[in-house]
Symmetry: C2
Subunit: 107 residues, 2 copies
DNA sequence: CCCACTACTTGGTATTGTCAAGTACTAAAA
DNA sequence: TTTTAGTACTTGACAATACCAAGTAGTGGG
């Protein structure tokens, strides 16, 4: 998969996922992988950044299947950012697709 | 505009533009700006890279409106790359949009 | 007891876009 | 004729984000 296309979009996908319900890192990787190829070394630092930027709060929960899980919960600020990114993505992808369409017409 | 979204897509837009007809750098900047915000310091190095990768050939043409213009012409290899990038973009943007749609349904 | 799976961290690297500054040429206005 | 606006391109330092590899550590089953 084209690495460059993912830039910035991963943040949106992660915000959208966590906005549905609180999630822990490993769970998120499984979820996000359904949409785009991604590896763990990308998601964990992203979660850390989004937490530092106050888009997520975190809490720990014991697990019977391994080490305790760090759950991420979206904040008000995170929801705002999600909506902004969403609008920005929709504008962007629409204008790119429109351009592609025009090129195809004039073939 | 979100800088990250552009990564990789600019290459596609430039390939598509030049595939329609030969273009020089400055002309291309005007064309690409209609789709996404972009500055000259981004396009010229990109053109150089695409030329190094044999996606473009170049030739100079005198101009009455300033210094000579370096025209870019797409190669066979460039057309192949364009089609691949196009398919890749369409797959990518569709799967992202599908994910967004699913999130919206479950609100 | 070791292995597979879960869960997370860290550090180095690659790619690509931005910004700022600079070179240089032409034509028209002051 | 000097200045200004517009055309045309180059370069180098910088920022953001994704990848990869390696490492730490807990749990339960063979």
């Amino acid at each position: 998969m084209n690495t460059q296309f993912k830039k910035g979009v991963l943040e949106l996908i992660v915000l959208l996922s966590v906005s549905k319900h609180d999630m822990y890192g490993y769970e998120l990787i499984m979820e996000v992988s359904k949409v785009v190829d991604v590896n763990d070394g990308t998601i964990y630092p992203l979660l850390k950044r989004l937490t530092n930027e106050r888009y997520f709060d975190t809490y720990l929960v014991e697990s019977t299947e391994g080490p305790p899980r760090k759950y991420y919960k979206i904040t008000e600020l995170g929801i705002k950012q999600m909506h902004e990114l969403l609008k920005s993505w929709e504008l962007f992808s629409e204008s790119v697709n429109k351009f592609i369409k025009e090129c195809k017409v004039n073939d």
